[in-house]
Amino acid sequence: MSDKNKTVMMKPHDKVAVALTDIESGVSLEVVCQEKTFHVTLKDPIAFGHKFAVAPIREGEDIVKYGEVIGVAIKDIDVGAHVHVHNLEGKRGRGDKIGKH
């Protein structure tokens, strides 16, 4: 399987790409999206369907996929790290945040 079929990145300014197969930690990948190419070495094992960062993401920064905001980083995320519920929080429907500023 070439790199082309291992991952998919939806929009050029997205911060994440998606693994299309289980990929081990330490693997170096070339992620291509339109005119942009990212060289990423995975810091975590990424399961099929899961996301990894293609650019560094700072705590409090919006995380973009499909060219749209899918949530916010709750800690700094390095290039190649797994992006999921441990470091990404949704911003919508957050009744738990009411009165807890």
């Binding site: 749209e68 905001v69 990404l88 919508r92």
Partner: protein
């Protein structure tokens, strides 16, 4: 060896059915002019305590269908209205030839009122009441007797050539994974555009799962009023979780969605919105309401699979497309539900439940358009009578979106 070859040849899409003109199918014309792709007799229980008797009628009479539910009494206001509209909509769906409305007798949702509304369409409707008929056994006997006559009358109808523009296709996704937004949902989006270009209607639902993607749909609204409604229904849905003081993520995305790689509701929504294709949003309708326009319609429903399926079918959808990444058995008692897998492994694992596979897009073997065309062919085949997996397994799911307490 011969058996194996035969089975292999009969894999998805390999069966050649009667040749028909592009954009046409054979349907059942109803007295109100609408067209069904099925010819069911519906035994419609208006109250929980009549569901058991309704089920027993379906066991006695071939060609009848029913459903189990827990509603129909001690309901008030808009919650009463929504349940009433759902019952009536199920009876009015053109896949139904005739209806036996079965009530207990003392409930708030009176069987007679439901029958009167359905009868306005001109289709055969008979009301049976357990209390009036002197008990369960008499009511079953009466219901079975009228249903048997309806089944024979229905079987004598000759199907006629109908236009794809007469179809309302419901679209939904359930048990989503990260592939949903990459494969099956975009393919359903292609299909939605194609149905609309043929003059037909596609319903987008699950308001919850459009939170975070609403601006994309609002930008496609035909006028400001529809755009305003988009933001209103989204706000109302989001406020329900906010008023409860909880993170909506504790219920949606579900544990299966999270395992599949979806991390937030916004991410799930952006994938789900792909089902809506690219055509203008014509109308935003209430739960279980029938669209009064053609083209792309948004029905305000929750993300709950069965509640949204029921809402769309009660709104008149003759066929539903259901994409799934984690796998699901879901089906409707009256509307064929074509299930489409987002990845090939779940298609292989749950082939008894899933009709088509869009996982080929992930593997680079097919394009979104090619899979969209396959879905279109399947709709035509199903319109002709090809049974879906959910129909074969008698997956008669039904659930009403309750918007008020029971008293």
């Amino acid at each position: 060896m011969y058996m194996c070859t035969t089975l292999k040849e009969k894999e998805e899409g390999a069966i050649k059915l009667v040749n028909i003109k592009e954009g046409k199918f054979l349907g059942y014309r109803r007295p109100d002019g609408k067209v069904g792709v099925r010819n069911h007799i519906l035994i419609l229980p208006t109250i929980t305590c009549a569901t058991r008797a309704a089920k027993q009628i379906t066991e006695l009479v071939q060609g009848t269908v029913s459903f189990i539910h827990q509603h129909g009494c001690a309901q008030v206001g808009i919650d009463y209205d929504q349940t009433f509209r759902t019952y009536v909509g199920m009876g009015l769906n053109p896949n139904v030839y005739g209806v036996v409305v079965l009530g207990l007798g003392c409930e708030t949702h009176q069987a007679r009122s439901v029958s009167d509304e359905i009868a306005k369409s001109g289709k055969p409707v008979v009301t049976v009441s357990i209390q009036d008929h002197g008990g369960t056994l008499q009511a079953i006997a009466e219901g079975a007797k009228v249903a048997a006559q309806m089944v024979q009358d229905a079987s004598a109808i000759i199907r006629e050539e109908c236009d794809i523009s007469e179809l309302i296709i419901g679209t939904e996704c359930g048990g989503s994974d990260a592939c949903s937004g990459l494969s099956a949902n975009p393919a359903v989006g292609y299909l939605s555009d194609k149905i609309i270009d043929h003059g037909g209607t596609a319903i987008l639902a699950e308001t919850t799962e459009l939170i975070g993607a609403e601006h994309l749909l609002a930008n496609r609204a035909v006028d400001d009023q529809v755009a305003k409604r988009v933001y209103e229904v989204i706000e109302a849905m989001e406020n329900r979780s906010i008023q409860m003081g909880v993170d909506i993520r504790t219920g949606n995305p579900s544990p299966g969605n999270l395992k599949g790689g979806l991390s937030s509701l916004e991410e799930k929504s952006l994938g789900a919105a792909n089902k809506a294709g690219s055509r203008p949003l014509q109308q935003l309708i209430n739960y279980a309401e029938a669209p009064t326009k053609k083209g792309l319609i948004w029905m305000d429903t929750p993300g709950h699979d069965i509640e949204q399926l029921t809402g769309m079918v009660a709104g008149g959808a003759q066929i539903v497309l259901f994409t799934t990444g984690r796998g699901t058995p879901t089906g409707s008692p009256i509307a064929p539900t074509i299930k489409i897998s987002t990845n090939s492994s779940i298609y292989k694992k749950m082939s008894e439940n899933i009709d088509l596979n869009a996982g080929s897009i992930i593997e680079g073997e097919e394009t979104v358009d090619q899979v969209g065309e396959r879905i279109f062919s399947e709709i035509v085949n199903v319109s002709y009578g090809k049974l879906t997996k959910a129909e074969i397994l008698k997956q008669h799911d039904f659930g009403i979106w309750r918007i008020g307490p029971t008293f």
